[in-house]
């Protein structure tokens, strides 16, 4: 046999082996048992303090633009998974397909609606910095694109101050505060960010404060350096400067986290970050908020101590590049549509000799100086591009997207308007424009991701007047108004140990499933009193048809624990999409 034939045989052998493995892994259904739902991830145990680290911008970009891309293209199992539409789901989700609370994430508004006051307050615990007396600069701000300082207020609290760029009043500061509130309400850890007004006359350079000079050496900070920074900032008519005061986070800073891999010196960090539900699902939330710069350096790990336990808490910290702001002026209309090194778009333009005009090229550069550029017309939630590829986002599946969309859709029009007011836009029309755009983008987000799966949620089991079990649920697409209730119907099948209890599928016009007489009879036969408690699981398979004569959706499998007669009530065990 010739060498090329040998090579192709070996390749084919590998390929067939992986196909068999892929089919095998898809074939067997999951057997859920009666277990308490995992609602907390035990990742806040006391651990020794991990080393602080820096992630260079160049390193992060090279790693994400090249190394991980090459790995992904060369990953046979990932291609086979893609072929079989069997993507690797997030590893930390629980049986209800939700992210448990952890050092990364806390279920907030989407699970238990926050009050208007809570939404407006966001992560803020106090009333903000006290700039009524002397404000001491304790360090220069070295990270990020927006100009700023680290200061200590009259109360002795430390804040990072970030300002609006000259010519763009409210833009940076409002975007930072508004996005912080949304991200916090979504469930992530964020700093306390306040809009504050600084009188430059009260600004004093602290003792021993240094900056890096041209040769890279640390030299004392001077008034001329402060003036250089202030010269770039938009002043108010009364001579004060509007700023975002970002309160120093509690604990010891450990540097940013990567969106892939593990922090090896943190024993609590057990799920590779690219496989964490909340990081994958953040893709949807960040896209909604036009927070296109999700590089590692916009995150921070803190070594925090709570209840005598010291562990690592993970934060998103910098939202200056969000809504219509680039952190250094207005965001480009191309942001969200193409990355900073987008080969595909470049090739398309080269090959078509520029005759192909991207839709965003037809847009103005600016809505207005306080809004920057922020739109909903061109927003494509499924194809949103971040400036640097994000490994967690790249692995996000439809389920991760659905999870993120549920969080986005949890914000009502009023919630959005309430949060946008915290940006303290001077011109109310700007606030209204931002809110309106966010509402439209929210609906685009929901419409896109809810169409990717069977959007049934909020399952509840109860009994009707005749004591028959009833499975009620919400159809999120109908609830959001994307589909019409009168056009929608649901069909279900009841399974016990993967076998149908009856041959017929039941069709219901409302989002509730009630077993018929025959199914009830079969249920009683199947669940004998002597059956092991853990295995008393009934599965209801539900498909949805949103338009009469339209296609039926993918199935949602709802796993229910059926207790022995007279012992407790039925419980929801798992939801499989």
């Amino acid at each position: 046999m010739t060498r090329p034939r040998q090579v192709s045989r070996i390749f084919l052998t590998f390929l067939s082996a992986f196909l068999v493995a892929a089919i095998w892994s898809c074939a067997a259904p999951k057997r859920y048992v009666h277990r308490p739902l995992i609602q907390e991830e035990n990742d806040r145990r006391s651990v020794p303090r991990p080393a602080s680290r820096k992630i260079s911008l160049f390193e992060d970009a090279v790693e994400n633009i090249f190394n991980r891309e090459i790995d992904e293209y060369g990953n046979l199992s990932s291609h086979i998974r893609r072929l079989g539409n069997n993507h690797k789901e997030a590893k930390n989700r629980n049986a209800l397909d939700e992210a448990p609370n952890s050092s990364w994430f806390t279920n907030r508004h989407a699970v238990q609606a926050m009050s208007r006051e809570e939404l407006r307050r966001g992560p803020n615990l106090g009333s903000g910095p006290d700039f009524s007396r002397e404000v001491t600069i304790v360090a220069a701000k070295s990270e990020g694109v927006s100009p700023g300082f680290r200061v200590r207020d009259a109360m002795g609290n430390q804040y990072f101050l970030k300002f609006d760029i000259k010519g763009f009043p409210d833009l940076n500061t409002a975007a930072e505060v508004v996005t912080t509130k949304f991200v916090y309400a979504a469930g992530y850890n964020t700093p306390e960010n306040y809009i504050a007004f600084l009188d430059p006359k009260r600004l004093r350079i602290g003792e021993g404060v240094t900056v890096r000079d041209k040769s890279g050496k640390h030299v004392p900070m001077t008034q001329s350096f402060v003036k250089q920074i202030l010269d770039r900032i938009q002043p108010n008519a009364d001579g004060t400067y509007r700023a975002v005061a970002s309160k120093f986070l509690p604990g010891k800073p450990l540097g940013p986290f990567h969106f892939a891999g593990l922090r090896k010196d943190d024993d609590n960090d057990r799920i590779e970050h690219q496989h964490r539900r909340e990081l994958r699902g953040y893709k949807v939330i960040a896209a909604w908020l036009n927070s296109y710069d999700t590089k590692a350096n916009n995150t921070l790990d803190m070594y925090a101590t709570e209840d005598d336990r010291s562990f690592v808490r993970h934060y998103f910290i910098d939202f200056a590049t969000s809504l219509g702001s680039s952190g250094n002026g207005a965001a480009s209309a191309a942001r969200g549509k193409m990355g900073s090194f987008d080969l595909w778009h470049s090739l398309k333009k080269i090959v078509t000799l520029g005759l192909y005009v991207e839709p965003w090229e037809k847009k103005p550069r600016l809505i207005n100086p306080s809004v920057g550029y922020f739109d909903s017309e061109l927003f494509d939630p499924g194809n949103y591009s971040f400036i640097i590829p994000n490994p967690a986002f790249q692995r996000a599946t439809e389920l991760d997207g659905f999870w993120g969309a549920k969080i986005v859709m949890a914000f009502s029009d009023q919630d959005i308007r309430d949060i946008v007011t915290t940006g303290q836009y001077v011109n109310q029309d700007d606030a209204e424009y931002i809110a309106k755009t966010l509402i439209e983008r929210r609906d685009e987000t929901g419409r896109y991701w809810f169409a990717k799966v069977n959007p049934l949620a909020r399952f509840e089991i109860s009994a009707d007047a005749g004591m028959r079990p009833v499975l009620r649920f919400a159809d999120l697409a109908v609830a959001a108004g994307f589909e019409q209730a009168e056009q929608t119907q649901y069909r279900s099948k009841w399974l016990f140990q993967d076998r149908p209890l009856t041959g017929d599928r039941m069709v219901a016009a409302t989002p509730e499933i009630i077993p018929d007489r025959e199914t009830l009879r079969r249920l009683e036969q199947a669940f004998t009193p002597e059956m092991v408690d853990e295995r008393r699981i009934l599965t209801v398979v539900i498909e949805t048809q949103h338009r009469r004569n339209g296609p039926w959706s993918k199935a949602v499998r709802v796993h229910i624990y059926v207790p022995p007669a007279g012992v407790g009530s039925a419980e929801l065990v798992a939801i499989e999409r």
Binding site: E59, V62, D71, K91, I271, V357
Partner: protein, 427 residues
Amino acid sequence: MRRLGQVLLIILISFSHVISGEKDRSDIPDEQRPVEERERGDSVPETLGKVPGALVSFPLKLLFTGARKTARVLDDNGVVLRVTDWLTSADGKRKVRPIFTPLSGGGLAFKQNDLLKPGLRLRASASIGVRTRRDFFIGLRDEALFHPRLGFEASAFHTRKPDEDFFGIGNNSSEANETNYLHRENNVRLGVVSRIGRRSLFSMLATYSDVRIGEGRDRDKPSLDSLFTSQTVPGFFGADVFSTGASFYRDTKDTNGHPTRGGEEFIAFEVGYERGGSEFGYHKATADFSRYFNLFYKRVLALRVRAEVTNSIGDRRIPFFRMSELGGQELLRGYRPVRFRDRDMALAGAEYRWQVQHFAIAYLFVEEGRVFSDLIDEFSLKGFRYSYGGGLRLIGKDRNLITIIEWAKSREQLRFIFRLNVGVKKL
């Protein structure tokens, strides 16, 4: 036997998740187990699945891992910051940039605005290349030294080009007559400049040039004196030339980097005499106009025309190195530099430009040009040489040109050109 091995491999991989201890499907699903008890890393089939791709991508990955590690070391040590800080000033007044052209080689260009006093600008560059090519330049300009609208300019320039090509004089000079010579020139210039409005500059400058022509360093080509004589090529040994002239430059481009409207106009007149001799004397008039038209969404058509007319004064001659030239980076790019020489020249070009990334401009161009012994009397559309091509210009944050990668084709050759931080004044 081999077939049996293949079957065993398939079975082994298929069941490896069982072998590796991964939980059987009949056992509790991962989602129901505490997160900290779940499997870490990939299963054996998935790990194996990465092998074929990893083998293919290994060399590339090695390269990029190297780049990543290098980036880390540079960043950890603040090298990038230090070098950037050292080379540039935060206010943009000082900047040092690497430069490269195939003709002059590589080097550094330095600029300092507001040197010693506001408005005084210093420009300097030094580059060296193969066969001891070198270019040194230093220039000072203050456009408001004497009056808000009247300033001065002074510069000195040294170049040594050891392997210049010479094909003879005239539009029909043959490629077969290619010879090689050394061109060395020292040049000092002094004069007054006057800014007229924000966009126009009028200059009156006097220049002294010491030009020496010698034997070329490219041994593969015949030397200049093997085919030509001082009779057929005026200025065969070089000359000291003193010239004075006036020029007017107007720039109405809307922006640098990727202008979409406006244009540039340049008109110059120069009179030159041989210092210490009476052999050479000439006057030269130059006109160069370019215009930018925004066709649609920043797809730009750039048009350019240029003409030069050089005449001798009395019975003096025009040194060949002061004649009009065609060929090279700004003048008929598909031909090698200074492929054609004669007293006069005419050039017309069109370029279509479009932005492919915020930092990259692609372009296609076509241009026609020819040299004449007398443009006015002999002008004809016949005999024009054309070249065409395309390329990519990379521009920096300050909208200045960083890099040109270009392909240019002519009847004689296909040229690939790479230039770094050397701006194109015209098309």
